[in-house]
């Protein structure tokens, strides 16, 4: 660290590379925090976690016992103390009163607000219903219902680069892209639509052969899935057309080609969606225990193979991505795994919860990760702090000595 600070001072290291280097160092050294702890007041499984976007100071947690809690994570104290009851409530956090209430037609799996929106105040709600509803906080009414999914919707995610674009993932295995200014969905992600062969080589070589053999490799590594090779080849050549004529596709919407409309992103339900902060990629988790990385602009499956063995299948999960899009955090049953976004390799396995982990939230300000699970606990994972414990250095009056309660989590 000292070296990096010295290099930044002498202008050898660019300030922004300094930041990203330190952030990624810290992100890769996450462990159960030895200086912060959250005592969860919840009596049900924690389903959702969110850090406030303005200062990164407050953590909001939602649990299945219909309770919400806010924590001041800078001072590591409990500050105070949406849901399966078919309602979405909007709270004023300063007064902790419900200011709005939206009645939903079924269980609410997930809600989302655009972090960049300046001209609307819409909450997107993913529910058991096939329609995605947008609740307008300005009026207190539903402003849109987005129809397209053939089953309940478990995941919503707003685009990180346009306030009008919403991405939803359904139990039908489809990921749909919506421009909320227009009717209908404008794109459906197709898992067999890959990037390969998008840029034909300069010299006309035997293109098809190359593509098929290459696109096959990821399939081979995971033996669990068998896909007919011809189908793969055809769909990838079809995608070549659609890729090069994106404009044409836009013109077709709202009535997308029916073949495209039936495309699926996962074999099974889409249980989690997360866009990278730069707005270029989308990660999706499916009940098929797959994590896929999508190039948003072209709608291509990047075919990165993530080393996931099992995901829980019944509940929506919340994914998190580091700010530099290097790591994705995925709740994998009782543990949380971090994967390298580009190679799919496991870089960390965080064991701490006794039961299934449902959600995680990465605080980019402090490089801290929060996880919540069915065991009703919220755990904080942070870069280790060197805490001196010798008597000379330690002054008992300034605070309580750091209690390393790691024994609680030894497994």
């Amino acid at each position: 660290m000292w070296k990096e600070i010295g290099d930044r001072q002498s202008g050898k290291l660019r300030p922004n590379s300094f930041i990203s280097r330190i952030r990624s160092n810290r992100a890769s050294s996450l462990q159960l925090s030895n200086h912060k702890e959250i005592v969860s007041p919840h009596r049900g499984a924690i389903n959702s976690l969110q850090v406030d976007l303005t200062e990164g100071r407050y953590l909001l947690s939602g649990a299945s016992d219909a309770s919400l809690a806010v924590y001041d994570i800078q001072h590591a104290t409990d500050y105070e103390g949406g849901s399966f009851d078919h309602h979405i409530n909007v709270w004023d956090t300063n007064t902790s009163q419900v200011v709005m209430d939206f009645k939903m037609p079924g269980k609410v799996y997930r809600t989302g607000m655009s972090s960049l929106a300046t001209s609307h105040m819409l909450i997107a709600a993913a529910t058991e219903d096939v329609q995605v509803r947008l609740c307008d906080m300005a009026s207190g009414a539903f402003s849109h219902t987005l129809s397209g999914h053939r089953d309940g919707v478990m995941a919503v995610e707003w685009s990180a680069c346009s306030e009008w674009v919403l991405m939803t993932g359904g139990c039908d295995g489809a990921i749909r892209f919506w421009d909320i200014r227009r009717a209908g969905c404008f794109s459906v992600l197709d898992q067999s639509h890959s990037q390969l062969g998008r840029r034909p080589p300069l010299l006309e070589r035997s293109t098809t052969k190359v593509t098929t053999s290459r696109s096959f490799t990821p399939g081979q590594t995971s033996s669990s899935k068998t896909r007919p090779p011809q189908k793969k080849a055809t769909s990838s050549s079809a995608s070549k057309h659609s890729g090069s004529s994106r404009k044409q596709k836009q013109r077709l919407h709202p009535g997308l080609l029916s073949s495209q409309d039936r495309a699926t992103a996962h074999y099974g339900a889409v249980i989690g969606l997360k866009a990278t902060e730069d707005g270029m990629y989308l990660l999706s988790a499916g009940s098929d225990s797959r994590l896929r990385l999508w190039d948003i602009e072209s709608g291509c499956n990047t075919l990165v193979h993530f080393e996931i063995t099992r995901l829980q299948t019944t509940k929506a999960i919340q994914l998190a991505v580091t700010q530099d899009s290097a790591l994705v955090f995925v709740p994998c049953m009782t543990s949380l795994k971090a994967f390298d976004l580009w190679s799919g390799k496991t870089s960390m396995t965080l064991q701490g919860h006794y039961e299934h982990v449902n959600c995680c939230c990465y605080n980019a300000y402090d490089q801290e990760l929060f996880t919540g699970g069915n065991d009703r606990q919220i755990l904080i994972w942070s870069p280790p702090k060197l805490i001196s414990q010798d008597v000379d250095e330690w002054d008992g009056r300034t605070g309580k000595p750091p209690a390393l309660d790691e024994d609680n989590w030894s497994d």
Binding site: M1, W2, K3, I5, G6, R8, Q9, S10, G11, K12, R14, P15, N16, S17, F18, I19, S20, I22, N25, S29, H35, E55, G56, R57, Q74, L116, C161, S162, Q195, R199, P200, P201, L202, S244, E277, D278, G279, M280, D295, E297, S298, D324, S325, D340, W342, S343, Y365, D366, K385, L386, I387, S388, D390, D392, E393, W394, D395, R397, T398, G399
Partner: protein
């Protein structure tokens, strides 16, 4: 309250980031264009050397600087892109001698993550498009139409995520880029793509090359006829094209810059990280590349850019040392180097640390910076003052006085220079060869010391010696009259003007003579109570040859008396107080206002307003100019009167806007000075300093003077100790042996006058000096140097061990008196309530200085405070501690004496990655952060709730565009208590680009006025390339961009003074303030630096 701040550059950036050569100002003119981060300089190549043509600020940090020539143009255009995603195309307007903006625009995107490796901007050699790599995974294309105009930009997806370099290939039918990138497994490859403008996409290019040198970092496209690319690695250089692949191994080095020598691209200059310059030659048979050759040419500053000018002249721009103009010789010198350094251009960057010292105790700071890096590390002493441009000098010991004389009363030039010694007087004159030669004036007495000389009317000269006054013809040199002092009454002091002589003898006798044509007439005599120490009858009335008043300084009663002439009536008496006698008095008029200046023997100067009719003295003011007796003399420069105060700290006194101002002269001790305006040296001064007589001209404005102390190693921290008159630095030396690079870390003690190393303490292996402090502790009068260190182990991410070393200077040696081990790096040390406050990793720790039973002392920890990520920068004031965190902005802690504990009081919850903090006043704290912004926060003690009180409110925000490493309280100019600017608190900052800047906290009314002026100036002064000043100064970070507030850009405001009269009037009209008033108020601010 220091809410309102004025930021101004005292020393412009000198770090050369880019340079290029081309025909910019004319088809036949070859130009060197240099970018210094936020400025560009245009030079013209002439047979005499580089001639500066233009130096302008750019409202942005320059990321790309490229010359290009669209089809059909006869001269080059300049493309500039800034780090905040603005670009412009500039063209030279030969008629107006300025740059025109041909195109400009914004290339920012909402999508994508800014690249870590820096922005890349390239132009197709056939001018079909501009390519920009600004965000990971995106390549932006700005196409040219066939008239050379820019068309709408679009993005192409770049699948390579870690791009290291992109260049355009030469000689391709379609624009083709070559991309050097690193894959997931850290292997490096190159790949080519054709840009298809029609499809707005890439097409796979003609070739690619996998698995290159792991240190490959730089691509050099080779022009026709070869049309390949050179890939520069750390251990190999590869030439690659569709048909050829040639590689050579090189000595391990990191190549930082290259310059193409020949238009056909067969030779390149490569500059590496240790400052070695190599020549790379592409061996070829016709158009076929047969191999590569590399040859070491010699050593230069560590290059950041290399531009081959012409005829073996090369410009080497540097970020870590002085930039250079070098010549490559055909034959090596005795040391085997082909490099001859012709000129060095000062570069202060990177200023890693600095201290403000007042070595002369004059109230004027001089800044001593730790500048440069690696082998080019140095200390720079930066001092504001008036420079003397030495033109001639002779060795002369023991000068007691000097006067210049004319050979005729109406002559405009001085001919003679009378130099007086203890037992003789010598006369120098200009001979026909314009050399100073000893001569004689027949009528002068040259065997004794001269007390005074002057030109007199009727072509006469006056010489006063201890025994007589002699009147001599200036043309023939014969003695025309002599007045003898009575026996036993030798003359002590004397003065004269063209018609009058006033002298004082032993016993307090004052004698007044008048000069006639060949006669000296004793007009009046007076006896005073005490001896007289000094006299003056400089005419300040209407008659330039006759004075109605005489000023007399007295021994014993320490007073100044004003007498009327010719009757020698005492009209005013002013007791000076104290015990120091007046040593020099001077009557003079500045801007028509008469003053009496009176210099004391201890280096103080008193000034009074003088009423010429009544002789009344009012408005007494006292300043300290030095420590030795001062001699006052007038001289004129640009037809206004200045006063030169010769002493151990020579000073020029002048007046502006009816205020007296004092400027240091950039000379050491001066004993005497007289104006010497000869034909060969017009408007010069003759200056007597230690054993030397110098003739030189004087600068008409004060500016920063920089003295360089090369260290050959990299100084990282510096501080000064008044008591021992030493500096201590933490430095590191790089040993670049052939096998392995190693670093050695030292604490060095330097003499504060000679800057010689006088003592060295070597730190352990892997131990770095992180912080240094001069302090003393309670119950101990000694001054100590405290040094904080860190053990930086290669395998550790963050240091876990460090030391605090306490040194005392004994016999000019560093003596280690105490040592304390810490649990991490000691990032900062502060003196705090007679104790030592250290920032150790995430902790703030307070140490007591304890006396042990055996009489030795030790540091004992008292209390600490956790809660930071890394507490990098700490400042204290009273019981308050302000901490700048690695990434959590500023927090305020308080030390509670009763509890002996440190507690957090408030913090700023913004996510600022800090680079420096300083306390402006009790409530306002200043911070500099990673994205080149400044901000101020305010303590909110009156907040209604704990929540409000616990929050530092952001009150000021500003984009400085510079990376600040250090703030220090202090001033670069003399701070006089009576002047307006003397009351404005200032802070000096130093940056990576070598900028020294000043932040001044203005009173609110002045701020509001200047803000109005700034707003109006923005409308009148347009940024180069159409870049907006308002946008440039807006606070800009990853998360937000907001307008600047409570900060003013002094550089913009002070550029008001450079405007033409018509534009000044334009502003004056809008503001309804007269031009003179505006100029006066801006000039006042310029005196802050």
């Amino acid at each position: 309250m220091s809410t309102y701040n004025y930021v101004v550059t005292a020393h412009k950036p000198t770090n050369v980031t880019h340079s290029c050569v081309g025909n910019f100002t004319g088809p036949q003119e070859l130009n060197l264009i240099i970018a210094k981060c936020t400025r560009i300089e245009i030079h013209l190549l002439t047979p005499q050397g580089l001639q500066p043509m233009l130096d302008v600020p750019i409202y942005g940090r320059i990321a790309t600087l490229e010359l290009f020539r669209p089809h059909g143009e006869t001269q080059d255009l300049l493309f500039i892109a800034t780090e905040r995603y603005k670009f412009c195309v500039l063209q030279w307007d030969a008629d107006a001698n300025e740059v025109l903006t041909r195109a400009m625009g914004d290339v920012s995107d909402r999508i994508g993550r800014p690249t870590d490796n820096g922005q890349i901007g390239i132009i197709d050699p056939d001018c079909r498009l501009i390519g920009l790599h600004l965000y990971d995974g995106l390549f932006k294309v700005i196409p040219f139409d066939n008239k050379g105009q820019l068309k709408e930009a679009f993005n192409i997806r770049l699948e390579e995520l870690q791009v290291l370099d992109i260049k355009f290939l030469y000689g391709c039918p379609k624009p083709t880029i070559v991309v050097l990138y690193q894959d997931n497994k850290d292997a490096r490859h190159v790949k080519t793509y054709e840009v298809s403008l029609k499809d707005k996409d890439f097409v796979e290019g003609p070739w690619s090359q996998n698995n290159l040198d792991n240190g490959a970092d730089l691509l050099i496209p080779v022009p026709p006829p070869f049309c390949g690319v050179l890939i520069i690695g750390e251990e190999t250089i590869v030439y690659c094209s569709a048909s050829a692949f040639k590689a050579i191994p090189i000595r391990p080095s990191i190549t930082r810059a290259y310059g193409r020598v020949d238009a056909d691209g067969s030779r390149y200059l490569l500059g590496d990280h240790s400052g070695l310059l190599h020549l790379l030659v592409i061996a070829h048979e016709k158009e076929k590349v047969t191999g590569l050759k590399i040859e070491l040419l010699g050593e230069t500053s560590i290059a950041s850019t290399i531009s081959y000018l012409d005829n073996a002249f090369v410009y080497v721009g540097s970020s870590y040392g002085d930039s250079q103009l070098i010549k490559l010789n055909l034959q090596p010198d005795p040391k085997g180097s082909y490099v001859e350094v012709l000129e060095r251009y000062v570069n202060l960057g990177p200023i890693v640390d600095f201290c403000v010292v007042d070595l002369e105790r004059q109230g004027q700071g001089q800044v001593v910076t730790c500048s440069g890096a690696y082998k080019d590390g140095s200390l720079r002493i930066v001092r504001n003052g008036i420079g003397i441009n030495e033109q001639a000098s002779v060795e002369l010991q023991g000068i007691k006085g000097m006067w210049s004389l004319r050979s005729a009363t109406d002559d405009i030039y001085d001919t003679f220079l009378v130099v007086s010694f203890i037992s003789e007087t010598r006369i120098l004159a200009m001979n026909l060869e314009d050399e100073l030669e000893e001569t004689e004036i027949e009528g002068f007495c040259s065997q004794v010391q001269t007390l005074f000389c002057h030109d007199a009317i009727h072509n006469q000269l006056v010489q006063v010696t201890s025994s007589s006054v002699r009147l001599v013809s200036s043309s023939s040199g014969e003695l025309r009259n002599e007045w003898h002092a009575p026996n036993d009454y030798s003359i002590n002091v004397a003065t004269a003007n063209a018609t009058q002589v006033l002298l004082a003898t032993r016993g307090g006798h004052l004698v007044y003579l008048e000069i006639g044509d060949g006669v000296l007439v004793e007009k009046k005599h007076a006896e005073l109570k005490y001896d007289i120490s000094c006299l003056d009858i400089n005419p300040i009335g209407e008659n330039p040859n006759y004075s109605n008043l005489a000023a007399v300084g007295m021994w014993t009663d320490i007073s100044v008396k004003i007498f009327s002439l010719p009757d020698l009536n005492l009209i005013t008496e002013e007791h000076l107080g104290g015990e120091i006698i007046p040593r020099s008095v001077l009557l003079c008029a500045f801007e028509g206002i008469p003053y009496l200046l009176c210099a004391l023997g201890d280096g103080h100067l008193l000034n009074f307003l003088l009423n010429t009719s009544t002789g009344e003295l009012t408005d007494r003011k006292k300043v300290s100019l030095g420590t030795q007796p001062i001699t006052l003399r007038t001289f004129s420069s640009k037809s206004t009167t200045h006063v030169f105060a010769a002493s151990d700290r020579p000073t020029v006194i002048y007046s502006s806007n009816k205020k007296l101002l004092y400027s240091n002269v950039n000379l050491k001790e001066v004993s005497h000075m007289c104006p010497f305006n000869s034909a060969a040296f017009p408007d010069s001064l003759a200056i007597a300093k230690e054993g030397e007589l110098t003739i030189g001209t004087i600068d008409d404005i004060q500016k920063l003077h920089i003295r360089s102390i090369p260290l050959g190693e990299h100084a990282r921290r510096i501080c000064h100790q008044e008591q021992s008159r030493t500096f201590a630095i933490c430095s590191l030396k790089y040993n670049q042996s052939s096998t392995e690079d190693s670093e050695m870390h030292f604490i060095r003690l330097l003499d504060d006058q000679t800057f010689d190393f006088i003592s060295t303490y070597s730190l352990d292996q892997f131990e770095y000096g992180c912080s240094i402090l001069n302090c003393s502790f309670s119950d101990d009068n000694n001054a100590y140097y405290c040094v904080g260190t860190a053990y930086v182990m290669p395998e550790e991410n963050e240091p876990t061990k460090g030391r605090i070393l306490v040194f005392m200077v004994e016999d000019r040696k560093l003596q280690l008196v105490a040592e304390k081990e810490t649990k991490g790096a000691v990032y900062s040390l502060n003196a705090f309530n007679g104790k030592l406050l250290a920032a150790i990793n995430q902790k703030i720790q307070l140490y007591k200085w304890m006396l042990r039973d055996d009489g030795t002392r030790e540091l004992q920890s008292e209390c600490g405070h956790h809660g930071h990520i890394l507490a990098l920068y700490v400042q204290t004031r009273g019981d308050f501690i302000v901490v700048g965190d690695l990434m959590k902005s500023i927090s305020l802690l308080i030390y509670k004496h009763e509890e002996g504990a440190i507690e957090e009081r408030a913090r700023d919850y913004n996510a600022n990655w800090m680079s420096a903090v300083e306390i402006l006043d009790d409530d306002i704290y200043l911070g500099a952060e990673n994205n080149f912004n400044l901000f101020t926060v305010r303590k909110n003690s009156e907040g209604a709730t704990d929540e409000e009180r616990g929050r530092l409110e952001v009150v000021g925000e500003y984009h400085l565009g510079e990376f600040v490493n250090r703030f220090q309280h202090g001033s670069l100019v003399m701070r006089l208590p009576d002047s307006d600017v003397g009351k404005i608190p200032t802070i000096i900052f130093g940056t990576v680009n070598g900028v020294i800047g000043v932040i001044a906290s203005l009173p609110q009314d002045q701020y509001v006025f200047m803000e109005r002026l700034q707003t109006n100036l923005r409308k009148v002064i347009k940024g180069v390339g159409g870049l907006s000043h308002e946008q440039w100064r807006s606070f800009y970070s990853e998360k937000k961009t907001v307008d600047s507030r409570n900060f003013l850009d002094g550089d913009l405001i002070e550029s008001f003074l450079d405007l033409g009269r018509s534009r000044m009037e334009e502003i004056s009209k809008v503001m309804s303030v007269s031009v003179e008033e505006l100029m006066k108020r801006v000039e006042e601010l310029t005196r802050l630096h």
